[in-house]
Amino acid sequence: MMVYDLSPLWLSLKVAVISILFVFVVSLALARFMTRRDFFGKSFLEALILLPLVLPPTVIGFGLIVLFGVNGPLGILLEQWFGFRVVFTWIGAAIASFVVSLPLMYQSVLAAFEKVDPRWENVARTMGVSEWRIFRTITFPLAWSGILAGLILAFARGIGEFGATLMIAGYIPGITETIPLAIYFAYEAGDMEKALFWVLIVSSLGVAAITWVNYWRKKTAIRIGRE
């Protein structure tokens, strides 16, 4: 097998890691807010968060171009304030990855929080403990295995993002060429060997992630046990 330029791997990892950091923080905050508050329009807001799950990637890409394009409202702001462009850059790929993986992570975190028995939080409250400390020491650790599974799922989804990435970041070898794009354009060019190389790489990453999550969940289940 030929030795290929590995830049798509490093770029995919960079895009996925940076987007997952934001996904992690935003989904935790959103899920925490949604489990604790009831308000008018909550269902609508939840539908908006989950919308990328059911939309074709091209629609997401189109929406991102409208928002972050050179003439888009957020695109103009980012260029004026921070001097960088989103379209045709790896940042565009990271934003696309963020948008498609957020709903998956949000759903996992919400389910994980809902599994934490509210009596544990209430008993901690009766002991005079602050809400923040309850979150840090009770809610988060007890929801952690579900959160971690969500993280891996969202990370895998982010690394595999293709349609929206292609629309907003385009295909510029060495700059916006993530693994899925590399596979598609290698196939288009008839370079099946190169396409297969990247298919094997991305599949191995997926298998490793799922195996690790399963191992970790078993390990933490044994450690925490059931009351």
Binding site: R119, N122, V123, R125, T126, M127, G128, P141, R226
Partner: protein, 212 residues
């Protein structure tokens, strides 16, 4: 002195409570779903009444005129049904969860000795029996030195020998701590043995109050 005088609408009836409690033990008896746990939850601040007032030693927990006092500020020891021990913490970490580092824990050390749980402190909740969990949870609810103790069916998971022993210890703790204790039970024998007063709640109404 605990003063309770409130109404709360539940699914099928209205819970109407009016009583005062000094440093006594009050047993709540009555069929399931009659409002006993809701009364404990209203005192603890987990749910709020619709109208009325709850206060303890002059501190208002709930009143229509002001915002309810936060659960954290009520100084209530609450032993939940099934104990609700934190499953990822050891017995010791459960007990000391809310105790600031470096504070005097002589009363806790004494409780662990009285209740015979010194040997369990390093174990996780899933590694100990129902009776042991109950004693760990009781110690935990007393660790923060509460002004009132609420116990929701504390003896339901215990066999006869353990129940007797735990009840005697509870009486000893009450004698020493001198705080009001309210406990929910289905067994009238438990109520008669432990309580200074027994209150029967049926469909949200207090129907009977007997002195020991």
């Amino acid at each position: 002195m605990l003063q309770v005088d409130f109404k709360k609408q539940l699914d099928h009836f209205s819970l109407t409570m009016q009583f005062r409690l000094d440093k006594e033990i009050l047993a709540l008896v009555g069929s399931s779903g009659s409002g006993k746990t809701t009364l404990l939850n209203c005192i603890a601040g987990i749910v709020h009444p619709d109208v009325g007032e709850i206060s303890l030693n002059g501190r208002t927990f709930y009143s229509e005129e002001q915002k309810p006092l936060k659960i954290q500020k009520r100084k209530v020891g609450y032993l939940f049904q099934d104990y609700a021990l934190f499953p990822h913490l050891t017995a010791e970490e459960n007990i000391l969860y809310a105790v600031p580092k470096g504070s005097n824990i002589a009363h806790i050390t004494e409780l662990t000795k009285i209740l015979g749980i010194t040997g369990l402190l390093g174990k996780y909740p899933h590694q100990i029996s129902g009776g042991e969990k109950q004693r760990v949870a009781l110690t935990r609810s007393l660790a923060a030195q509460p002004d009132i103790l609420l116990l929701d069916e504390p003896f339901s998971a215990l066999d006869d020998a353990n129940r007797d022993w735990c009840q005697n210890e509870l009486l000893r703790i009450h004698e020493q701590w001198q705080i009001p204790i309210i406990f929910v039970t289905h067994r009238i024998a438990d109520a008669e043995k432990l309580a200074d007063r027994i209150m029967r709640i049926e469909k949200g109404q207090m129907t009977e109050e007997t002195a020991r």
